[in-house]
């Protein structure tokens, strides 16, 4: 029983990170039709900026994590907004070229991070109370799992409120459903594009920071490995759906943890791929309808 509880909470923590990456990807694809391969680079850049700023500031692990993390997230949003303005914007109406540019960007940014900070993993600042464990139903669970789940849940609530109750949210939701109609009504959708990209970049950087806490190190391949599962989450959850991404992220995280423990290590990843194949063959549009909610 205690193992099961530990696996469940760890799976939820993993799902929390998948959700943060997938929600940005899903909104970007839903609104702009861009499959953003550079999202993995945003994760890596965010995590490394957080580590680097934390290192410059010094002080306790808590201060370094919070201040460095905030600056890392801001950096991720800035990089993403710049990418949209400089590289994606000139290629509107050419979706294949947009994907290709993000592929090139993923290669270039990943290599740049490795060039600047080296290929070796860097120790991430984790406050000692996050490493300590809390006993729940007989299971000793590291406290950082609760932080990850809590932050992801807050993001889910905040993002849903943003999409439902603000004017930008309204434009984004309308754009996901029918971009042409929104433009025809005289609303500049392109501003929403930049905002969605910046938002996605910030969430990806946040996922990078949390993955730094989860694994207690950052390395240059972090972005790519998270990104592939985030893609799977997005497809299972349905493009453009935040709620769908959340459900799919939790499902994927839990399946991975259970299968890796109860079957054998690595089986979880295979099970997730199998789930994706089944979902796509049964419901090619994903589990949720194509509406941002």
């Amino acid at each position: 029983m205690s193992t099961f509880v530990l696996l469940t909470i760890t799976g939820l923590g993993l799902g929390a990170m998948y959700f943060l990456v997938a929600s940005g990807l899903s909104l970007i694809y839903g609104l702009m039709g861009v499959l953003n391969f550079a999202h993995g680079a945003f994760i890596t850049v965010g995590a490394y900026l957080a580590w680097w700023f934390g290192d410059q500031i010094g002080g306790g692990a808590g201060t370094r994590l919070v201040v460095g993390g905030a600056l890392g997230i801001a950096g991720g949003a800035l990089v993403a907004a710049l990418v949209e303005l400089v590289l994606i914007r000139p290629l509107y109406q050419r979706p294949i070229e947009q994907v290709l540019v993000t592929v090139g960007l993923a290669l270039a940014l990943g290599a740049l991070v490795q060039g600047i900070w080296g290929a070796d993993p860097k120790p991430f600042p984790v406050p000692s109370w996050m490493i300590e464990t809390t006993t729940i139903l007989g299971a000793s669970v590291p406290n950082d799992r609760f932080v990850e789940i809590g932050i992801a849940a807050a993001v889910l609530v905040g993002l849903t409120a943003f999409l439902r109750y603000t004017r930008f949210g309204l434009v984004i939701r309308a754009g996901v459903e029918n971009r042409g109609m929104v433009s025809a009504l005289g609303i500049d959708v392109r501003r929403a594009f930049t905002i969605v990209f910046a938002l996605g970049g910030a969430l990806a950087a946040l996922a990078g920071v949390l993955s730094g806490v989860y694994f207690s190190v950052v390395d240059p391949t972090r972005g790519t490995s998270l990104l592939i599962f985030a893609f799977i989450v997005v497809v299972i959850g349905g493009f453009g759906s935040i709620g769908g991404s959340a459900v799919a992220a939790v499902t994927v995280g839990l399946i991975q943890q259970y299968a890796n423990y109860y079957a054998s290590s690595g089986t979880g990843d295979l099970a997730v791929v199998l789930l994706l194949a089944v979902v796509l063959l049964v419901r090619p549009s994903g589990l949720a309808p194509r509406v941002a909610h």
Binding site: V101, L107, G110, T224, G266, D269, L276, L280
Partner: protein, 352 residues
């Protein structure tokens, strides 16, 4: 006249390439040894091999319009199945080759039959997921067959002597050249066949093909199986050339590199993918050693760090190409001619 150029140019290129191991010419900067030295031949063989593998990917992406993110899986299948059969199961050469050929036909047939049921981005994702499953399987190291992260060596007992040892690098070079020629000929025949015409029609407009009364599905499956099978053969050559199986062939980045090669050269053109594969590999290998040179190392850090990362340079070059030369390198002659005669812009320029 056109006909002569169509056959003559590839023939001349082929003869020149075939004679390379016999020439001890020194090409400074581009290569770091005379043409006939084993190191250079190894590098050129790798370039030719990737010219072939890139063309197999172009069958999907350039000619049929299928954006697959799982092509690495088939190369990896060729590499690992051959290495495992020879080294772990200690099979002879011919049973191994027969087995790998069977796998090379069955694997793309099954995976293609499943993944082609969806199209567009969903197809890209399913193929990515299948390739990911392959990567996980290799990392998992079932029964100690794949060797996990370290990969597995190759048992040379069953390999013909002509392909063993540094002195025989020239034979490996010819093998790689033979592979590139084989892929080129097969792809040319396929693209010019009636199925090939349907591929291009599917690329342009799949719905129109359906309206004309053809089912696109079997034609797409043929393209998928052909591309997968030729990539599996490329994996066998890769294994002989490198002398072992390493997990880098299973990664998503391997497929992305193939995509970059094809776009670099020009997708869906006669020589584009091959030129792209050759140049990309040459740059990838040579930029790495260039970054170790004293000129680059003496630069200030702002310049030195990006210049010492081949992938950064290749990624940047790729983005610039997508922006400024959308048809890839293969479209350059046409573009230059267009500039000179002030003819109307190319179709894709007009569209943009």
């Amino acid at each position: 006249m056109r006909r002569v150029a169509e056959i003559g140019v590839p023939a001349v290129v082929l003869v020149v390439l075939a004679l390379v191991p016999k020439v001890s010419l020194d090409i400074p900067v581009v290569l770091n040894g005379p043409l006939s030295s084993p190191g250079t031949l190894q590098l050129l063989a790798l370039c030719l091999l990737f010219a072939g593998i890139a063309l197999t990917y172009d069958v999907l992406f350039g000619f049929t319009g299928l954006l697959s993110f799982g092509h690495a899986l088939f190369v990896a299948a060729g590499v690992y199945m051959t290495a495992i059969a020879l080294t772990r199961w200690e099979w002879g050469l011919w049973p191994t080759l027969g087995f790998v050929v069977l796998v090379g036909l069955a694997l793309p047939l099954v995976l293609g039959a499943v993944s082609l049921r969806v199209g567009g981005i969903a197809f890209a994702m399913v193929t990515l997921a299948f390739a990911q499953a392959g990567e996980v399987l290799v990392q998992k190291n079932p029964y100690g067959w794949t060797g996990g992260e370290e990969g597995t060596g190759l048992n040379y007992d069953q390999i013909p002597d002509a392909f063993v040892g540094v002195l025989n690098t020239k034979n490996l070079y010819w093998l790689a050249l033979g592979y590139a020629v084989l892929v080129f000929v097969v792809v040319r025949l396929a693209v010019n066949s009636s199925a090939g015409h349907v591929w291009r029609a599917v690329r342009e407009n799949e719905q129109r093909v359906e309206v004309l009364g053809l089912h696109p599905y079997p034609f797409k499956l043929i393209a998928f199986v052909l591309a997968g099978f030729l990539a599996v053969l490329g994996g066998i050559v890769w294994l002989l050339l490198i002398g072992g199986a390493t997990p880098e062939v299973t990664t998503a980045n391997f497929t992305l590199a193939l995509l970059v090669m094809v776009v670099l050269g020009g997708a869906g053109t006669r020589f584009g993918a091959m030129i792209g594969g050759f140049l990309y590999t040459l740059l990838d290998q040579r930029l790495g050693s260039l970054s170790g040179s004293s000129e680059v190392q003496s630069l200030p850090a702002v310049l030195r760090v990006p210049l010492s990362e081949p992938l950064f340079l290749l990624g940047t070059l790729f983005i610039l190409l997508v922006f400024f030369v959308p048809g890839g390198l293969a479209s350059l002659p046409l573009r230059l001619r267009g500039l000179r005669s002030r003819r109307p812009p190319l179709p894709e320029e007009a569209a943009a």
